[in-house]
Symmetry: C2
Amino acid sequence: MRPADRSWLLLTGFVLLYVVYLLFGALVFSSIERPVEEELRRDVDALKRRFLNHSCVSPAALDLFVGQVLAANRHGVTAHKNASAPSNWDLTSAMFFANTLVTTVGYGHTVPLSNAGKAFSIVYALIGVPFTMLVLTACVQRLMYPLVLAPLGLLQRSGLEPRPAAAVHFLLLLVLVVLCFFAAPAAIFSAVEGTWSFLDGFYYCFISLCTIGLGDFVPGTQPEQNLRQFYQGTVMVYLFLGLMMMYLLLRTFHKMADLHGLTTFLQLPRCEESDPDEDREPIMENGQGAQKQRPPAASEHLAPSSQPSYNSMGAS
Amino acid sequence: MRPADRSWLLLTGFVLLYVVYLLFGALVFSSIERPVEEELRRDVDALKRRFLNHSCVSPAALDLFVGQVLAANRHGVTAHKNASAPSNWDLTSAMFFANTLVTTVGYGHTVPLSNAGKAFSIVYALIGVPFTMLVLTACVQRLMYPLVLAPLGLLQRSGLEPRPAAAVHFLLLLVLVVLCFFAAPAAIFSAVEGTWSFLDGFYYCFISLCTIGLGDFVPGTQPEQNLRQFYQGTVMVYLFLGLMMMYLLLRTFHKMADLHGLTTFLQLPRCEESDPDEDREPIMENGQGAQKQRPPAASEHLAPSSQPSYNSMGAS
């Protein structure tokens, strides 16, 4: 089979498998959630009937009222408590919103109400999302030596071959991230937020750090909480550090996949290899620069002049 | 200044600037949205007072009722209409939910209610999110030649230098994406969804394709819509194609930044250069393979044996 044919076949297979995966998810979610939803619906209907029996309101008037209450709620204003509840747009809450916007988590527990707010959200995210990626990348760059290259070197010096060393290192990093950025925060959230179970906390951490951000659980939104502003600030720092670790994990996985020939097999781009300071500087600081420097082939393509893939069309 | 010092200074500057950017966003959002929120709050208070005057319900009973209605609404069950409204968990809606989960858009208009649903969401996204990235990457790979390399070659053959050609090409691609994946869908959404303005549609497209997914606007959730399942399916296809184009745009921008020396200046990783088929195969198909092949330095580092950055620690 020609490589081009194989590549198209692989792509078609990928896309088909993807649709099957979505269908499978739909079937499972539907079978798990539908009975629970029906029960909740029956509860709500009973609630409405009970309420109508004990009041002199017509069903139509109640429906109108409920519709308006829900519309206000969609915009983050709850009719449940009186107006003394904290604003969704005080400085800390607005910063929390800005943070969920630029990290693409986007809980949606608060949303801009005005056209000006929507337009500003677009412009703000347009600059903010790439900026966040830039800052995260720059931070991850600094963590590559202490968290990836140094432990890998240690594993290899202790006698492991490169491939098993990479796998062992990835597993260790995974356990570290799960413990420090999922399990421990989940325990803290379930203690601080009265109504959250440990699973709720874990689910919140996962949904947030994957930047899915469903918004069914958002910390620091209950009106009675003390030190709400400090708490929201801490959550912002947690989100940033967590996203950094997720990115580091992803990059380590990508590098491991390169090493195992997985990316070549699937005809995908390999992990970038030309990071100017992630592995070079610390090595030179160790005073072993000459010994550990890259082979010439790789160093050469660091120079701006040798960038063939982007220029190759014009060079002819 | 030593390169290591400069690099740390750059990082600190980045992080500080990032905090300032968040603070700036918070100030603007707060000043735009707070008056609107206060007005909506006053409206809701007036609505409640009016409702209480025309019924024989106590304020406490109403508060309890509203609290329960809002709690059910958080779980996607609205007390507004009767139980004949379409389920959030029929097969198409569940597939739509699965799709927003694995693409990390996560509107949160429907959320799993049960513990089993939450646990399955975690497992499903754990596999689904990387899988989606894989499928998107594989698709973008196929689009690199027709949408990036071929037009770039055309621009360069028409006499432009590589750098201006890259900038012109990026701008053209940007205009194409904005027209086809933001403006046109926004016009369609504002026509199909009765209550959406064009800005609402544009805002929805932007918030979705950046995977922020606030969920204040979600197409196909109004109960009266005809062909709802077909409509939701179309939106899923739109989201997939849109994400693909956003990824392509990001990669093109990254390559342009490489070419302009921006990534080297900011000490960031460069765009991967070793995509096995994005620029090679089509060139060979054109019968000009020998003329346009990569220089040896770049080809060499395609071979699995020459991967210095990951192995350099162990090689010593």
